[in-house]
Assembly symmetry: C2
Homo-oligomer: 232 residues x 2
């Protein structure tokens, strides 16, 4: 069973300001909820459609077709920024929740444990982000932090800060380091000027066959870039 007060509470978590106030977030779907229960995140509540009914589930769900299970989890506390090192991803102005979540999923596939996000990125606990991560939300360490200062810190530590641009070095021929901060820019406007100024290396994924294409989408481009780092 679910009370009206609980319904109201879960519905409030559809909004960022209540998620922040409550320090909680929503996870939906049979598979994702099963992962959530196994994730180490504290589960505050879990409801199943066959227990509370279609009507109640559709009231608390964020999805257009309410899924069989919905859990409310406690948000992880922010931890201090890790020292520069390893292969890390920095997301610059990725406002679209679907793109942001997909990028975390890609980082997950390529074994990148830490992702930095500029403060104007989508919110990690936005339900659309959570769904798009396909569970990566439970495994990634995500830090929201201004990227120009972060990039400067990596460079001071003697580590490369690499971005993808239309006019960079051919990534297939570049000598890629093991440790680097890889920056991905937004779909519309690319890597911001303030972050570009801090980039130590510019890479390009070449277009083939005079295709006429002007850009790859950010998720595809980032997958290709991370694949190039990992394949060597």
């Amino acid at each position: 069973m679910i009370s009206n007060a609980e319904i109201k509470w879960v519905r409030s978590l559809h909004e960022k300001k209540f998620r922040e106030r409550e320090g909680a977030f929503i996870v939906e779907g049979e598979k994702l909820v099963a992962e959530a229960l196994d994730s180490g995140f504290e589960v505050l509540h879990c409801w199943r459609r066959d227990e509370i009914g279609d009507n109640a589930m559709s009231r608390i769900s964020c999805l257009s077709s309410p899924s069989p299970a919905l859990a409310v989890l406690r948000q992880k506390k922010e931890t201090p920024l890790p020292a520069p090192g390893g292969l890390c991803l920095a997301l610059d102005g990725i406002r679209d929740p679907g793109n942001f979540g997909t990028l975390l999923r890609i980082a997950d596939w390529f074994g990148i444990p830490t992702v930095f996000a500029s403060p104007d990125c989508a919110e990690l606990y936005n339900p659309k982000v959570v769904q798009a991560t396909m569970g990566a939300v439970f495994r990634k360490e995500v830090h929201y932090t201004p990227l120009p200062a972060l990039c400067a810190q990596w460079r001071e530590a003697g580590l490369p800060v690499l971005g993808t641009f239309l006019d960079g070095e051919n990534i297939y021929r570049a000598d890629l380091p093991c440790d680097a901060l890889v920056v991905a820019g937004s779909e519309g406007s690319g890597i911001s000027a303030a972050v570009s100024a801090q980039v130590s290396g510019r890479l390009t994924i070449p277009a083939f066959g005079g295709s006429g294409a002007e850009s790859l989408n950010v998720a595809a481009a980032t997958a290709v870039v991370l694949s190039e780092f990992r394949r060597r």
Copy 2:
């Protein structure tokens, strides 16, 4: 100016059955409409928001925030299937319009002129597909055709049919041919059984660092696969 009859006609093109009956489709957005005018497609109509007003534009638009320009183009006639050869992409059961359009955009970047689609894929002229292609819709030759027969035809011509699976050969170490039909399966269910039975080579993009990730999304995986073919 735009008449009520025209508004009604454009609105009818939001639906597949009317797009098919009229042999027409909608393109929106300053950039995409400019590309459309330059594409060789026959332009049946073009309206600008500053000429017909916000109200009329929002009635004919498929977007939640109507864009400054909307054009109606004539659909291309279906052409006969090309003979097997070159590097081609086959999309198997990609129902999601955003994914389908993004895959055409990726094919465009990597210089793949011809894309085959199983009949249950999203419709090429669906407005969401058109938007997601970022103009690739004007440049790709897309053929809807049953894939098992197509794959058989490629194999009979002595050409490889390659799919990405979770249990295939490590793509980074595989000897990739110049000519091949690369099959991409749907997000939820992968490559269908009937198509799998026709695949001559199984490839895998390895996950790194015991990531726990179960899959890459189809667009990211296809970008990595096509990048591997093109980088060599």
